[in-house]
């Protein structure tokens, strides 16, 4: 391990930016705020590039101990940073995409009163995310983990005067905390059994333990608990409910946090803990099952949503499911590959959606869009590239990463054809709803403000104009293209969505990450060669099938939303209850409300508030006060002003004293 003294600077630079903007931003000019935010973030990006340039696999991994933290007996934790191939990939993705989105936010949030606050929070988020990614032990990672949750809360509820935004922020944070509980228990188990939270020590200790094929044991428990944490952070079943609500935040937030970086923290954590998972096959199976089910589940919800950001949100949940499926079948590098390409095209999708919303004065309901490709050519072009990427068309980025995952799901020793099949079906659905979005937004006639929804349903969705709180005072007039400060990042991300997948050709990416997933890599290599020998044919066949699924989705969307726009309404009507269930997200939120939220609130009100706080604590205080009053009320009667009663008390007291003295003097002796 080689020391690298610049590692700690990468997170600290955005922190400095956040501090400067946070303390001085209110009275600074917007130009100054912008400069501070972009310079510090950009500096982190440049530093990341320098580190990448000087990175050599021979001297990896790099580390740096910044300061002591905990020393408790034999247990110690320090503020240490770590850089290996996995961290390097994450580092470049986070700083790069983050920097682009910062530039975009300059244009998007310029008119907002809380501009300085937004930039400060974004920099703060970068700090925490980089801490998470560069951590050398689970506890520093947990700092980053919690910190990104905090930044997410602050940014989701950025327009905190709006009730729904504040509630969404709360929901995100609370659901995250449930996951964090699992994470913490896993950490405690690690401390107890391994005596350390440091990656190198934990993974070395794990190597000495046997593989738990029976599905019970310490490593399985740790793995499952880590998965609970990842499910919370990365919005998997059952803790995904916060992500669609998180769309209340400004679009750059959705792009950065809820597409490109924060939600991928769970995947990163699972990939980092690959040593643990590989020795706990049951946990891996659970990870794969959760990922696959989530992918399918979220995709089905996405086809009926009418808010453009909600479609993308469910799409994110679904794609994260793919990443977990990859990790669950042992293809960690494939999962990370998809994480990287997803950051490009999903970030781009959100930014482009933001550009669309910005251009039509704040409208987010797709039923009120249409035909926008004439008005916003650049947005249309970049979004098209992103849509083809996510659908999995070659030669765009998504094709390579998704195909890798599907192949590994089929061929890996932990995988099975069931995963592959569900993955292909989900790919078909993904392609369908993405192209549905594409057609509804950019083709047809502009259905402008106050247009009726062509499906004839009053579907549950957020349809208020100005919902993004972003209207420019242009009124509902002409839709227009966004300024270049916003289009620039779109173009860059579009380029990356195009070429980003080419890194994976020939297994170069997998080979680069191989030293990180050592134990897995050996098995991978063995299996890959076996797979290559026996199944190059199979692989090509499966590839063709998945591309075919993507085409099928495109064709279906074209039919329903371009050729015959009346058809969706009739299909929806004939499906009746099933359609309603899908539109209402399978009523999961209502179910959670009934099962967990309402009982908790009621229990808290009845038991804790009325029962404990009022009847015990308040009662104790109040009753001791009233007891004092009653006692003194009664004792007051001693002061009657009546001479004889005083004398009576004196006589009685005297008798007591005499009795006491006699007792002491006579009996005690």
């Amino acid at each position: 391990m080689t020391p690298n003294p610049y590692l700690w600077l990468v997170p600290i630079l955005p922190l400095a930016g956040a501090a400067v903007n946070g303390f001085f931003g209110r009275r600074s000019s917007k130009k100054a705020i912008t400069a501070v935010a972009l310079i510090f973030c950009g500096a982190a990006f440049c530093l990341a590039l320098l580190i990448a340039a000087s990175f050599s696999s021979a001297s990896a991994p790099y580390y740096f101990n910044l300061a002591h933290w905990l020393r408790s007996g034999s247990f110690q934790v320090d503020f240490s940073f770590y850089l290996d191939q996995l961290s390097l990939v994450m580092l470049l993705v986070v700083t790069g995409v983050g920097f682009l989105i910062h530039i975009y936010s300059v244009g998007y949030m310029w008119e907002d009163d809380g501009y300085y606050r937004f930039m400060s929070y974004m920099n703060l988020f970068m700090f925490f995310m980089l801490t998470l990614v560069l951590a050398k032990n689970y506890l520093v990672m947990f700092i980053g983990w919690e910190g990104v949750g905090l930044a997410s809360y602050l940014l989701i509820g950025f327009w905190f005067t709006k009730d729904s935004a504040a509630a969404a922020g709360k929901k995100a944070f609370i659901v995250n905390r449930i996951g964090d509980f699992g994470f913490l228990i896993a950490l405690f188990l690690m401390i107890k059994h391994f005596g350390s939270l440091d990656f190198t020590r934990v993974f070395a200790a794990v190597q000495t333990l046997p593989t738990e094929t029976a599905g019970v044991g310490l490593l399985t428990a740790v793995g499952l608990l880590l998965m609970v944490g990842a499910a919370g952070k990365s919005a998997q079943i059952p803790l995904y409910v916060w992500l669609p609500d998180a769309m209340e935040g400004p679009t750059p937030v959705s792009a950065l946090i809820h597409a490109a970086t924060m939600v991928t923290a769970g995947v990163y954590m699972v990939a980092r803990s690959s040593a643990i998972f590989e020795r706990a096959p049951m946990a891996m199976m659970v990870v794969a099952i959760i990922g696959t089910l989530t992918a399918l589940f979220a995709a089905t919800i996405g086809i009926a949503q009418t808010d453009i950001k909600k479609v993308l949100a469910y799409s994110t949940v679904s794609q994260l499911g793919y990443m977990f499926m990859a990790c669950g079948v042992g293809a960690f590098s494939a999962g990370i590959f998809h994480l990287m390409t997803h950051a490009f095209f999903k970030g781009l999708l959100f930014l482009a959606a933001g550009s669309v919303i910005h251009g039509i004065g704040g409208e987010q309901d797709m039923r009120k869009m249409g035909g926008l490709r004439q008005y916003m050519p650049w947005t249309f072009l970049t979004m098209t590239i992103a849509t083809f990427a996510i659908a999995g068309f070659p030669p765009f980025a998504g094709f390579f990463s998704k195909d890798e995952i599907l192949w590994k799901a089929y061929s890996s020793e932990y995988g099975s054809w069931v995963f592959w099949l569900i993955g292909v079906i989900t790919a078909f659905i993904t392609s369908f709803y993405m192209f549905r979005l594409w057609f509804l937004t950019f083709f047809g006639d502009y259905r402008g403000a106050a247009a009726l929804d062509p499906q004839g349903h009053d579907v549950h969705g957020h349809a208020a104009p100005g919902h993004d709180d972003h209207s420019h005072g242009h009124g509902h007039g002409e839709p227009h293209e966004s300024p270049w400060v916003m289009l620039g990042p779109l173009v860059v991300l579009a380029f990356l969505s195009l070429v980003g997948g080419w890194i994976g050709i020939g297994g170069r990416f997998e080979h680069f990450l191989a030293p990180v997933f050592q134990s897995g890599a050996a098995a991978e290599l063995a299996h890959a060669t076996a797979g290559e020998a026996a199944g190059t044919g199979t692989e090509t066949l499966l590839m063709l099938i998945s591309v075919g699924a993507a085409f099928l989705g495109l064709f279906l969307a074209w039919t329903l939303y371009f050729r015959r726009p009346q058809l969706p309404a009739r299909i929806a009507a004939s499906l009746g209850g099933l359609y309603q269930a899908v539109v209402h997200k399978y009523y999961i939120d209502e179910l959670y409300n009934l099962l967990f939220v309402k009982p908790l609130i009621d229990g808290s009100t009845e038991i804790l508030w009325h029962g404990v706080d009022q009847n015990v604590i308040d009662a104790t205080v109040n009753n001791s006060a009233s007891a004092a009053r009653h006692i003194s009320d009664n004792a007051r009667h001693m002061q009657s002003g009546n001479l004889r009663s005083y004398a009576g008390w004196v006589a009685a007291g005297g008798a007591v004293v005499i009795a006491y003295m006699i007792w002491m003097g006579v009996w005690v002796r």
Binding site: N642, R644, S645, G648, W649, A651, I662, V666
Partner: protein, 176 residues
Amino acid sequence: MFHLILFLFFGVICVAGAVNLLVQSHPINSALSLIAVMASLAVEYLLLGAEFVAAVQVIVYAGAIMVLFVITIMLLNAGKEERSKGSRVAILIGVPGVLIGGVLVAWTLLYRSNMQATVPIGALPGDPADIARLLFHNFLLPFEVTSVLILIAIMGAVVLASRPEAVARAARKDEG
């Protein structure tokens, strides 16, 4: 023997007088029974040989203090005691308290100590010369202090008992 009879006789008078003081409703009757108590106490002192003390008892206590009481009763035209609600506490806990205290002390003194020693008649002759010797030698300071005390008491009594107009008239007479 004779000693015992004398003691008992005058002791009974003491107790009877004390009880009578409690029982009578008109204060003058209580005052007179108190005088009787004091007189028989003087005899008891004599039985113990305290001549000077007995004399002082009669002169000062029975002769001066009780006269003062009787004059005050006359002055204020005190009548029979009227019934008033009074204080329950005094009766309910004061009386039992003092009775219990008294019984305890008596019991302790009688059965738990060696007070069975007898005191012969005229045990300690306290003639004036001996008393004076003690008073002006060993107890000189208390003696002087009590004279100051009496002075203060006189002044206090005069001030407290005088009529307000009398004080005002005296003040005007001083100025004028």
